[in-house]
Symmetry: C2
Subunit: 207 residues, 2 copies
Amino acid sequence: MSRKISSTGIERLALYYRYLTSVNGSEQAFISSAELAKAVEHTAAQVRRDLSCFGTFGTPGRGYDRAALEEKLSGILGKGKCQNVVLVGVGNLGSALLAYKGFQSQCYTIVAAFDNDAKKIGKHLKGLEIQDIEKLSDVVSQTGAKMAIISVPAGVAQEVVDALISAGIQGILNFAPARVVVPEDIVLQHVDFSIKLDRLCYGLEHA
Amino acid sequence: MSRKISSTGIERLALYYRYLTSVNGSEQAFISSAELAKAVEHTAAQVRRDLSCFGTFGTPGRGYDRAALEEKLSGILGKGKCQNVVLVGVGNLGSALLAYKGFQSQCYTIVAAFDNDAKKIGKHLKGLEIQDIEKLSDVVSQTGAKMAIISVPAGVAQEVVDALISAGIQGILNFAPARVVVPEDIVLQHVDFSIKLDRLCYGLEHA
DNA sequence: CATTGTTTGTGACAACTGTCACGATAAGGT
DNA sequence: ACCTTATCGTGACAGTTGTCACAAACAATG
């Protein structure tokens, strides 16, 4: 309970959680910090430190109770209730995200898709009608969505973000290759794989 | 020239580079650390510190020469020559990545696509024939590709990575929601958006 | 119940990362 | 030639993050 969790620490918690749920059911009822660490490519001390930020629920000599830990992590990460998510930008990437199974198997549901291209509006994709981005505000209040995923061109990312925020969205996952600014109270995460590719390129160059 | 660049520092360099190339041509010939910092949501001191790791090419009173800086960053990141990239896993996400314009506009070209699904093999997508993953080794040596992108299910990520490495691939961009292990000399980057979504969820919960 | 073996939780430490502040340096005008 | 203004490069500092090592806690066994 001693230290404040860091942002990267939270991502590690999500890794721990994903590992626990992925090897569901089988095996031992307890798992040690060493075993968990090995599964996610970290150190045992790191695992214990991360978990200790939220109380003490390991038992010396045995490790952590798998079910209890899974439950606890679920609570910490806020995965108790399913989240409604809206998606803006139904291009190649947006379509793929709509179809992506990984979201559904977790606790997220994409409940609406938007675009500004007249040729796409009205069409159906994966059971969702693509709607005019003008409808954003209405849909957000109807569905109670707090999170949004944007996969739009870099040039319009900022204006889409602004529209989302004034529609009441509180958290944004940004796939657009651009940095955007948000108010203090809005949570923003970037998934910027063009940058990651460059990072890779650098790694090769300086091998 | 004083300090060693960090991994996150390199990603910032890529951000600087992307900004410079995106506002191509127009405006002033020089840019200050403050202006660059504002564009990528960092501090001026941070920008100067990052750049200083690779020599001193700013001029006091003026800032950095845009063209020279762009050139320099290109060199540092290793973007001088175009990189051939192979893609493994042509599902929803893989197809989207094949079609993604962002790669081509940069210096990356996807030269081959692989899958293990017999129903997909032989089909054409975006001008590429989807090939049997058995052919990996041959294609890698023919094309001289050093980088690979994998967008396969979590369960097979490790074996695909192993196959890539024995085929001669040196850098891997992993979109699969799983951590994999690679030898010391292989560069690996994760694009793990299910984790980022969880991170977002946590942020909302603890607002 | 004492002993042995295992694993946790955490204080202390080390390493890394970002910020601040300021001397140094260049351009431009008078 | 000098002064002013703008901006860089970096030493020193502060804050953050990860590692180590060990006492405390619990299980298991005889």
